[in-house]
Symmetry: C2
Subunit: 231 residues, 2 copies
DNA sequence: CCAGAACATGAGGAAAACTCATGTTCGTGA
DNA sequence: TCACGAACATGAGTTTTCCTCATGTTCTGG
């Protein structure tokens, strides 16, 4: 099942889920697809510069060099825009992880954990906007100030579960022995916890506090070990 | 050191920290102190009803039966308002935990963990607004949609560290044997992780998914055990 | 080449955030 | 008890942001 092409097939499918989201146009022609991506890029860039609360749709549009109306063709609003960015981030993350896993499979759950965390950390450093929204899972306790804005995705529920399942699939043989149901729960918990601790690590240190990153790995390893130990 | 009066001495001290916060008046007369609290109560109530993104300062003021100008006397804006609420929540939590601890000290770190988690869960159920902002630590991934709003407190850094220290103090004899420095880090990490997992637990189930609450305890216990085991 | 779908645009309406000039109440020292 | 400065109260109005929508243009399949 590994490497069955880019896994962005259902990107933006979230638009079908949000209750309040009035359903926006999906870009089908190449030109508008490029504009769509450009808007997301602009959003990511501004997030890093100003934070989520300071972000305005007008400024995103301006930086993306599209009129404001075009932005609202594709996104129902600021929230939807951020959700779409979170979704794209998730796709990128899973792709990158997939690539690294097929390069050389890790030894056991501990190795898998290290890989997953390291890749996340790398994206926190490299990818614009990732520091502010990552997957929209947990604490965007960033510059804009608070988590009220937080449930980026009304789809969060499904999203979280989906991510856990994807990780489970990516893990492959590593988790082969475990009870699948308990494992899915365990992965969701681990994911949520790791995201929180890593956000903490990046709150004070722009490169991520190494001590806290190490603690994050220890936390997850320890938890998963127990999870996998007792059947 | 236990029970040295209400620990809200420095409540609202956060106002000194936020960069963008233009510094607001602090209520000193009784009447305005009551209004201040009433505004916070109104904010909490509306949070539960509408979510953080739907919250408007005008409506908060209306429910608190104060003119809009008064709200802005005390709070520099929506963000500051939510931060103040988070701060008050934290004070309440520490007070409640303190009370329970002095009633009957728990057996070891595991017992302490259970107590701390149970009290948090109780507040998620009882205290208006707590489900939306709790301490402003992590994922207000609630109805408003995302964590951009998330770092409720620019003071988060200090806040987190302070909370860890307070917990350390509350723990008292339970953690006596441990290395204080490592313990402080451990508690911060545990706190962040627990908050995230508990928010997950309440995302789907209004009363908190029991399975996930149990997993949260297991996660923290396991992590702290290792922390305290290896010196 | 034409019809219809997809796309583009930005002035302007609606709503929320936030200000500030003006007037009132409180505490307290003489 | 009174006077005076500090703290408090108020809400109409300014600014800012969100978002819509009527109108016009470009693409694509038959």
């Amino acid at each position: 099942m590994r490497h069955s092409g880019p896994m962005s097939a259902d990107t933006r499918s979230h638009q079908a889920a949000g209750r309040t989201v009035p359903a926006r146009r999906r870009p089908v022609q190449q030109r508008s697809q490029e504009r769509y991506e450009r808007i997301l890029d602009a959003c990511a860039g501004l997030l890093d510069e100003a934070g989520a609360t300071a972000l305005t749709t007008k400024e995103v549009a301006h930086r993306a060099q599209v009129p404001i109306g075009t932005l609202y063709q594709f996104f129902s609003g600021k929230e939807d825009l951020l959700a779409a960015l979170a979704h794209r981030n998730l796709d990128h993350y899973l792709q990158r992880l997939d690539r690294r896993l097929s390069a050389g499979a890790p030894a056991g759950p501990a190795g898998f954990t290290d890989l997953a965390v390291d890749e996340f950390v790398a994206m926190k450093r490299d990818v614009p906007g990732f520091g502010q929204v990552d997957f929209g899972l947990a604490g965007t306790s960033g510059p804009t100030g608070f988590r009220g804005d937080r449930h980026l995705l009304d789809t969060d529920l499904d999203n979280n579960a989906a991510v856990a399942l994807r990780l489970q699939a990516l893990g492959g043989e590593v988790f082969a022995a475990a009870d699948p149901v308990a494992l899915t729960i365990g992965l969701r918990v681990a994911l949520e916890a790791a995201d929180a601790v890593l956000n903490l690590a990046f709150r004070s240190d722009p490169d991520g506090d190494p001590v806290l990153i190490a603690e994050c790995k220890r936390l997850v390893r320890c938890y998963l070990a127990e999870q996998l130990g007792h059947d």
